[in-house]
Subunit: 458 residues, 3 copies
Amino acid sequence: MATYLLSAICLSLLLSAAIGQRSPQLREARQCRLQRLTAGQPSQRIESEGGFIELWDENQDQFQCVGVAALRATLRPNSLHLPSFQPSPRLVYIERGEGLLGITFPGCAETYHSQQSERTREEGQEEERQREGRRGRDQHQKVHRIRRGDILAIPAGAVHWCFNDGKEELIAIVFNDVNNQANQLDQRNRAFYLAGGLQRKEQHGEQARQSFQNVFRGFDAELLAEALYVPSDIVRKMQQEDDRGLIVNVREGLRVIRPDEQGEGERGRGPGEFANGFEETFCTMKVRTNIENRREADIYSRQAGRLNIANEHKLPILRSLDISAERGNLFPNALFTPHWNINAHTVIYVIRGDAQVQVVGANGQTVLNNRVNEGELFVIPQYFASTIEAGKNGFEWVSIKTTSSPMKSPLAGYTSVFRAMPLDVITNSYQVSPSEAQNLKLNRGGQTYLLSPGRRSQ
Amino acid sequence: MATYLLSAICLSLLLSAAIGQRSPQLREARQCRLQRLTAGQPSQRIESEGGFIELWDENQDQFQCVGVAALRATLRPNSLHLPSFQPSPRLVYIERGEGLLGITFPGCAETYHSQQSERTREEGQEEERQREGRRGRDQHQKVHRIRRGDILAIPAGAVHWCFNDGKEELIAIVFNDVNNQANQLDQRNRAFYLAGGLQRKEQHGEQARQSFQNVFRGFDAELLAEALYVPSDIVRKMQQEDDRGLIVNVREGLRVIRPDEQGEGERGRGPGEFANGFEETFCTMKVRTNIENRREADIYSRQAGRLNIANEHKLPILRSLDISAERGNLFPNALFTPHWNINAHTVIYVIRGDAQVQVVGANGQTVLNNRVNEGELFVIPQYFASTIEAGKNGFEWVSIKTTSSPMKSPLAGYTSVFRAMPLDVITNSYQVSPSEAQNLKLNRGGQTYLLSPGRRSQ
Amino acid sequence: MATYLLSAICLSLLLSAAIGQRSPQLREARQCRLQRLTAGQPSQRIESEGGFIELWDENQDQFQCVGVAALRATLRPNSLHLPSFQPSPRLVYIERGEGLLGITFPGCAETYHSQQSERTREEGQEEERQREGRRGRDQHQKVHRIRRGDILAIPAGAVHWCFNDGKEELIAIVFNDVNNQANQLDQRNRAFYLAGGLQRKEQHGEQARQSFQNVFRGFDAELLAEALYVPSDIVRKMQQEDDRGLIVNVREGLRVIRPDEQGEGERGRGPGEFANGFEETFCTMKVRTNIENRREADIYSRQAGRLNIANEHKLPILRSLDISAERGNLFPNALFTPHWNINAHTVIYVIRGDAQVQVVGANGQTVLNNRVNEGELFVIPQYFASTIEAGKNGFEWVSIKTTSSPMKSPLAGYTSVFRAMPLDVITNSYQVSPSEAQNLKLNRGGQTYLLSPGRRSQ
């Protein structure tokens, strides 16, 4: 029954696929006459002082078709991914490590204040007083603690930064939905950095250099100094090319104001100084959810694995971004039901293990029939039928869908199309006997999406 | 007054054309620099065992402009159109015959159950018991009775099948809204068949073969057998190429569970075994309305004819599909007012009779000035002004519009632009006298959309 | 606080950029790889009897990128811009003069009636009676008084006309949002005239002639005469090519029914004869707002200037058109904060004065660094960072945005991204000292969007 409920929630999308009221999902349809899909590793790497960014080649036909550009960012401990924004919304999955994320919303109040009586986690009172002498008190917008297994939703045009304050590398898988309607520019992967950027004379390809640009360097220093009302040598520091790149080392640790994490939780949030009612609506919207927790799996099979879904119902901001994510775990030799996605393209990143993946394209040909391995990424376009069989070590993945209410139509299992059809339609369609048709309808009848290992592997 | 009301409902669309809340109608604008439109018969025919499908050439500029692909399906008695789905929503008009339609919604419960105490229409209790012995009891999703004059709304990605259980041919006019936002693939007419399909070595054009594909044949039989947990010879039957095509004969009759049609109507529906509340919302959404009934005409003129409209207000599922239909009947020599469509393209199929049609294009040139005849199809792009004059046997048509709340702006009649303008604007615009301007405003003042025969034909 | 409130309202857009519920803003993304923007005067002029229309070249890359076609219409006193409609919504700013605007909504009642007891402004009772003898009584839809500083919102497909009844020229700046989703035709600037039009043999470029077409001339005169039920010589007058063009002289004055303007205001509106409830909703929707009033400025700085914004909250019809406008006034040497637009392209028309404008493109290069002058137009694509410094005579402009809820992200001022970031993020990003970072955060802290003149100009 829970299964029905879940699927039925998804169903709403089928009927409202086109209703803006829910999620308009209005994307420019692209050329999707794909003869072949491939799973692969990133093809380009951008080194920075504090880590590196690896890019999948967005010019491949398969990424052009689905309109998603993917990258993997690795931040070493104590390094800062510089503030930037993108022309399209992005979903981020934290594959490893932990850190801090700041997203700034223009017009929202700075709700995190350092006051005499408040302490940041890492500072003693004495030390703080000294520092305040040096840098004054601070106030800024909310900073989020992020951890392995988190999905982060970042709206188009919103400046954000990320700091690794953990002991191990922070690895983030980033999906940019370049074909999203929020993007009125051309549909390329771009990033606008408020600091840093790639050096002009460097070895990076022309494309990378054009995609990761500093927005300040193009301005006249004098004009900018006037606008900011600061001496122009500060502006020149802001515009300076250096070789730190996009991710920089932070030598003394990054101090931000945060509620005491050991503390009383929600009570830690002080009242905004300039409360206007909006900080209780948009300004405090949740941008983060963890989809790693096995006890909160949306679909669970003791024999086959589990699925955690982050859609607009679980993380409402996704409704406005019109994207969603799925975290899956298949046990060794288990299968993901043959199915097609009704209202979205899918991009899948392999977190662990391997699997045999088959995808059948719009022209009826097999467009993918490969083993996919850890660290690889592949796409499954809308309506393309696919199935996944985990390898002998199991298969774990995270995927995004280009809709906020994804819906799939399975060919096997409790919610399969066969169960929904009269027996005689099946017997006549396939010229099989009634009992064979019953087998098609019922043999996987107790399982949903995730299927236990079949005969072959037993 | 009723006229005003009707038009005013449509008006809401003018003001909300762009509001997703109502119907976002976000389509990729295409090249519409048409020099000439043509009305024509289908240009391709795909034969199957139990009937045939005729396709209009979607590559013509005029169909590319409006983004609609049309076809006519003919099912002979006792034949089944095999289960398939499309990447875009479709509206179907039943031109002739009757039959059964099954649409499967993944996640909805199987609400039609055969039980000891229930009987299907065609079976006696004795016979049923025998059959149950042979094939077990069945349960499946709702099956719809369809009849001449029905409009059927089929969401993108939803598997459906159709069976002709009548005595005559079942003829359906099918409009695929390939430019619809639900379709994130490229904007081609496609169909994904769960059974059947076109044979690879056959005489069909390359395009037809690529457009009507079997989704199972691309899968590895062993893998699929495992997923479905059936012997692989069943899967091989499912994948088998045979020459039955897309529509197959059903030899012993197709038995499906249906409430006794002579019976008590709504009471016949048994309680769902797995009720979860959703079967009362999406799962039971109406997909069918009849627009043939002359007593329910939306616009009626004793002298000129009638119009039946199926828009989002009458068939709410259309709101999500963002398409609508119109069924018209012009009496001999009557006219359809010169007008343009404000928020949609129009595709018109001639059911009976003939008419003289004039269309003026965006460049001010006459792009169509022809007699159109029974069985022909033609398009009128958004904003193109057009007028229709029925021939001496009258003119009947069905049309679809690429919006769920279509709105037209007439040049003559009760709701014409002239009536809405001050007299002096007309006299100065055309350098006509006040009384001539009054004629323009009032001579057709008592008629709406459908105009009685003019002087010429009297 | 008011500042926060205003910005926070805008913020809603950031989060709902993609929600159809608010404004879907679904546009086809275009090629925006602009190397250079230019500010310029119109490049083409179309003369008519009663005035002229000047067009900016819509084929320039910059206009193609933002999908807006702009023109300036000048009506001499006592001249009428003939009734026409466009395939896309338009915003009009009245730069000078006053006049009357009629927009006809098909299906809305004619709510302005001349009756014995009602008088139009310009007519005495005696005179009126004579005229009624000559032309009968009239009734028509609402006519709007328009004045300098008005923003007018005109839906796609709605016929409208404009009459200059003032003593000076009426100058209107017109922005056609050709990339708007209401337009299902190709994305060109077009106008369909119900009267007038450009002569075929004239000197106008091919493009202009194709863009300003008469919809009647393409029809067969006999057929049209029958449809309108008027003698065919009236139709021939309607179709006649003459050399009056698109704007014509009105010799005896244009008489329209209007409430006595000195009168009782709202009470002047008579009850509709055919009231159906809709005239209280859509039919009476406000299409006009004045954004010139300095006392109603949304943002005001005694040192820097003011901003008046016309968005969907102030003029609700804009929600359906998905466009909005801004009227700005910078005092001499004041600055508009460096910022980028989060959810829209911007097109700016210079009303008075001049300014130095810098725009940095998506590739990090300066794409515009010029002085812009009165009467010039320029564009700033979405996400491109820009700043404006008024010249020594100040700078006044009107701009439109391709969204109904525009939102900007400023780099300086009360709502800047720097204020929202922790101090340490700034120090580490730019390698500046804490006190320099505090300067960046706070030096313009008391100002919003509009910045007082900097040091240079003091």
